[in-house]
Symmetry: C3
């Protein structure tokens, strides 16, 4: 067994941008030459998150609407007292969804469903350059 | 160190069915003969999720009620425009809770609390055959 | 590659206490002498959870307010019928956020953002002694 680290850079368009990173993750595993193991995908930063979703336009609007119900933009956030940058809701949403996702792979293929893609959620209020780490453990 | 893959098949009863998979996961670890490591449990598909909960009837109804507050069934979902199968809320809930759970084990035992069970959440609107992967890394 | 287990004990102050465990996690990795791998942090128990957040006072109040919106304290919980200990909302919140977090490290350093700390969320209604496991896999 060994560990191989790959990185992915993603330029996001701003709030509620949801980017499919499945292909880049698959290429990382392919490049590792490993057949069986897990990949941990991690986003550095506290206003972005990772999950899986069926990547189609309806859900790409449905999911942010759910986040707006649980952490609305236009309410007061204590975070504003520190930074005044209007992204308190972004932080709360990111902490709820989480920055880390671990996916098993077998015979070089991730065990995703046909309609299940890995996505980066941009939750900050502006375009960002996001750095993701793929930590691949296996053999 | 090595990697061993086990699979679990679960037939769910439909929406809001919550299935305790702790025993099957424990048996997978036992079968691997490993003593120390982690198991990553992953559900293929975008309308199911994994977490831990105290497995008792009260919470098995409390948890879906929370999901109904954050992603109600009877509101409009963009997802309906694609499939018309009435499970937009199922997708949103699954992406929020997440498809992956990693649990450490030591001396062959998962480090769960006494009142903490590993569960599969069926969030789709009908009975499904679910395929779970246990990816066990350790020694 | 190998596996090393470390434990962290944390005495929490009660509901909505959020404890920064980044330094203790870093020390665990340092003590393992590993340079590259992943650490899985896991909290035993069903009324606590783990995530990352920018650790500043505003967000430490904003995040519990979000949890109060999705799982309010003062509504009925089926869980009360079993235990009568007034923490149904604690369980629901803990299952939503989740008990496990996996973070990659490279050159001995976790790949966290500058403003991103690892936190234990105490969601129970009273002070607790929490036992966390750090399962470190790497080389």
């Amino acid at each position: 067994m060994s560990v191989i680290t790959k990185t992915i850079q993603v330029k996001t368009k701003g709030e509620d941008d949801i980017i499919d990173i499945t292909d880049q993750t698959s290429k990382g595993i392919e490049g590792s030459k490993m057949k069986n193991g897990v990949v941990t995908i991690f986003v550095s930063g506290s206003t972005a998150a990772l999950t899986t979703i069926e990547y189609e336009p309806g859900l790409l609007s449905d999911f942010p609407k759910m986040l707006e119900r649980v952490a609305p933009k236009n309410i007061d956030y204590g975070h504003e007292k520190l930074w005044h940058d209007g992204n308190g809701h972004s932080h709360v949403r990111a902490s709820l969804v989480g920055p880390s996702l671990t996916v098993p792979f077998c015979n070089g293929q991730m065990m995703l469903g046909t309609w299940q893609q890995i996505v980066l959620l941009e939750l900050d209020t502006r375009s960002r350059e996001r750095n993701l780490v793929l930590q691949i453990l296996g053999e």
